[in-house]
């Protein structure tokens, strides 16, 4: 009798130290992953390293920035040794200011309706398709969704965008900003992003005797088994580094700054 073959989805190898081990090989190709975290938890660095590792492997990458101008983003990221400005100059990493994109589309308004949302999706998908982007980051989806007033529209936007990007074989990280610190944890500002995403990576701080330790935890990732343990992270010049958090540390640690 032949052994049963086990189907395993192809992976987008993140290249981030420790991350592919947590994900048992990487993010399943075409997934939309929500990277949710508090300010200063390392979301942008993680996402940028995800793009850089892709660019180093010859993949075309795109970064849509809604929280800070691209010039400022690049100035901040240049301090990391893993980043090389040649990746921008050579077109391997393409950075787009959402404000500029809104202007191109004539979306200079406070809130978006259904047509605006569809125009935005089309613009992003066209860029991905034209450049052949296989790794995409939107930083942050929270800022973007503030312009979409209805929960149903946010759901439609994220679902349609995710579906179209998956069809193009593009693995996407949507950065989500979370702020408050109560026990009833949500991993997105609007509550719908987390339900639609294929994966959720939570980043934040635990407080141990008055000191803040950064952590990362993969809460959900469709299409792969993965560790759900909390991992300590360090943002080093070589990129993000991860190690499992001490189990006995949890006795005293307070997860102080995530959830809402």
């Amino acid at each position: 009798m032949q052994p049963a073959t086990v189907y395993s989805r192809d992976r987008c190898i993140t290249g981030i130290h420790g991350m592919d081990e947590i994900l048992r090989g990487g993010i399943p190709y075409g997934s939309t992953v929500l990277a949710a975290g508090t300010c200063g938890s390392g979301k942008t660095t993680l996402a940028m390293e995800f793009l850089v590792r892709g660019a180093l492997a010859g993949e075309a990458c795109a970064h849509f920035t809604a929280t800070e101008p691209s010039v400022k983003l690049l100035e901040n990221i240049r301090q990391y040794a893993f980043f090389d400005m040649n990746m921008i100059d050579s077109g391997l990493i393409n950075v787009f200011d959402m404000d500029v994109l809104y202007s191109w589309l004539g979306l200079d308004k406070a809130s978006f309706d259904l047509d605006d949302v569809h125009a935005l999706i089309k613009a992003i998908v066209d860029i991905v398709n034209t450049i052949g982007v296989t790794r995409l980051v939107i930083d942050s989806v929270t800022t973007l969704c503030y312009k979409i007033k209805s929960e149903q529209l946010i759901r439609d936007f994220l679902f349609t965008l995710g579906k179209k990007l998956a069809t193009l074989g593009c693995t996407t990280i949507l950065i989500s900003e979370i702020t408050s610190a109560t026990e009833n944890a949500h991993w997105s500002s609007f509550g719908v992003e987390e339900a639609i995403a294929d994966g959720i990576i939570v980043m934040g701080d635990v407080e141990r005797m008055g000191h803040l330790l950064r952590f990362l935890q993969v809460v959900k990732m469709r299409g792969t088994s993965h560790s759900r343990a909390k991992h300590a992270i360090e943002l080093t010049p070589l990129g993000v580094m991860l190690t499992p958090m001490l189990k006995w540390g949890a006795v005293n640690d307070k997860t102080s700054r995530w959830g809402s």
């Binding site: 141990r208 005797m209 000191h211 330790l213 300590a232 992270i233 360090e234 080093t236 070589l238 580094m241 991860l242 190690t243 499992p244 958090m245 001490l246 189990k247 006995w248 540390g249 006795v251 005293n252």
Partner: protein, 196 residues
């Protein structure tokens, strides 16, 4: 320069350890620096190793100056200082081979910083030295420290980096000490107070 006599038996014992070994080094209160130097110097000079010195007992500058006082150059060794951030002005130091961590309770950060330094190291063979378990025990609960040392030793054993764990045994929490006996592959015991 201060005249200093090394304990030659330590270097003889070190010839028997391999890169994936973990060595528990026991010393007393009064011979701690002599034992540390007798361990470090052969590793640097005989075995031409680089390494990371994790300072939890004293600040890195003080340790570097102690080595310089006996004529030993430790500029090739990277120091991770867990002490000086707790002293206002303690990190105002212009030495490229020292990095500071906010507190000895940030054990995971110590591990990650050490791994980072080793990733950037040009030296083929390396050691990591914890000075000392006793100092870490001031800040960290017994079970957590035992768990940490377990993780630490296995992490570096897997990466073929020699780990050296310094302790004064009669002041180490019993659970930590018994676990060290279990995890470590070698023991250098200079735990008795040596009177010269």
């Amino acid at each position: 320069m201060i005249m200093f006599e090394l304990d030659q038996r330590i270097s003889e014992q070190l010839t028997e350890v391999s890169l994936n070994s973990s060595v528990q080094v026991r010393c007393g209160n009064s011979n701690a620096f002599m034992v540390t130097a007798s361990t470090m110097i052969p590793l640097m000079q005989m075995f031409e190793m680089g390494g990371v010195y994790i300072c939890a007992t004293r600040g890195a500058v003080e340790i570097i100056e102690a080595f310089e006082a006996i004529g030993v150059d430790v500029s090739n060794i990277q120091f991770v200082d867990l002490v000086s951030s707790g002293i206002l002005g303690g990190t105002d130091v212009d030495r490229p081979n020292i990095t500071f961590i906010d507190s000895p309770i940030m054990l995971e950060s110590v591990l990650l910083r050490t791994l980072y330094i080793l990733r950037t190291s040009n030296t083929e063979r390396n050691f990591v030295l914890i000075d000392s378990v006793n100092a870490l025990a001031i800040y960290n609960e017994e079970r957590m420290l035992a768990e940490y040392l377990h993780t630490f030793i296995n992490t570096f054993r897997q990466r073929e980096v020699l780990s050296v764990i310094l302790n004064v045994p009669d002041q180490v929490p019993p659970m930590v000490l018994s676990n060290l006996d279990l995890y470590c592959t070698d023991l250098i015991d200079r735990g008795q107070v040596v009177i010269h």
